[in-house]
Subunit: 199 residues, 2 copies
């Protein structure tokens, strides 16, 4: 046993984090030696508090420390649009971009038969059964442009067909700041399909 016991145990804890192996965990621990005791106690407390207090919003599935998240309970937001996203990371990404003022619905995954993830394993039923009241006019599907994303998108589209609700998806296209010369042919095809008439 090279490390003292408490060192070894903390090492194992750090290794739970994504992308953190032995070397990085060691580096983290060595850095703790120079960090103030109080900061470490706060770190320790913050971990427990996060796990205890942060839960999925009962309406949209986003992370929150209340029953309902800040977005769902914000009366200034546009309740007529719901943006369907894969996970809470997407919500944060959209919120950081800042110009979307509608609601969200977090699926918590994508349909993927190969991984045995079926429609009932993700949060689709709630979207269809509970959230589509008379106020909702549009559902924006904002999933990754992957096979799983497309499958899930199609599935939701089918379910919404009979309802009197507009369904849209994010536009595909050339990324801002890119050079057309170096783009994937598929991206060119998508950008042509999604072209926007400007006059």
């Amino acid at each position: 046993m090279i490390y003292p016991k408490d060192f070894e145990e903390l090492l194992e804890s750090f290794k739970l984090l994504p992308g953190i192996g032995e070397k990085s965990a060691e580096r983290f621990i060595f850095s703790l030696v120079d960090i103030d005791d109080k900061e470490i106690e706060k770190f320790s407390q913050n971990l427990v508090n996060f796990k205890k207090n942060i839960k999925p919003c009962k309406t949209c599935g986003h992370l929150t420390d209340k029953e309902e998240c800040n977005i769902c309970s914000d009366n200034k937001r546009d309740k007529s649009v719901i943006c369907v996203v894969q996970d809470v990371k997407s919500v944060f990404t959209f919120e950081k971009a800042g110009n979307y003022k509608g609601m969200y619905h977090v699926l918590g995954g994508l349909i993927s038969p190969i991984d045995d993830i079926n429609p009932e394993d993700i949060n689709i039923a709630n979207l269809i059964n509970k959230r589509l009241n008379d106020v909702v006019k549009e559902v924006i599907i904002a999933l990754n442009p992957s096979i799983e994303g497309e499958t899930t998108s199609l599935y939701i589209q089918k379910l919404l067909e009979t309802k009197n609700i507009k369904v849209s998806r994010l536009s595909y296209g050339i990324p801002m700041g890119s050079d057309i010369e170096y783009l994937d042919p598929l991206m060119i095809i998508k950008a042509l399909e999604d072209r926007k008439y400007i006059s």
Copy 2:
């Protein structure tokens, strides 16, 4: 405020770790959502335990959960050799390599006038005044081959000159598995200087 409060506070804690910025801290936190509550409690407890129980060994300065570290208190180790290293990371590196069976002395830094680190700021006095008893026959200086390492090495060498103790340093040379064609000229010079007679 995009994040819930407990999220934000944990984010700040993770950002204390070396090399961890906003994005990585976020990624860590999202991963916690899927980790078992018990594991997080253990993580939290491990942080506090580490900080509370792990202290520098009163003899050599290595990290330990006792008064004296496992190495200093191990009677099977060779007390006649002391290996002087920059920090505890070096001790772990040497112990992982595994064939060194002597003692260590951790300086906790290197002399660096430019950063205002003087000999009295690092753990040299203890080495000279407390550790060099009659049993000690050799001091191995194992510091990084940098300007600071060389300076510190020379300083310690001077202090040991008058004592009846052998002083050695790690050999410089070509790294195992390297290709001589691509080596630094300085490395070739060092490897020639430190050449070993084999017959």
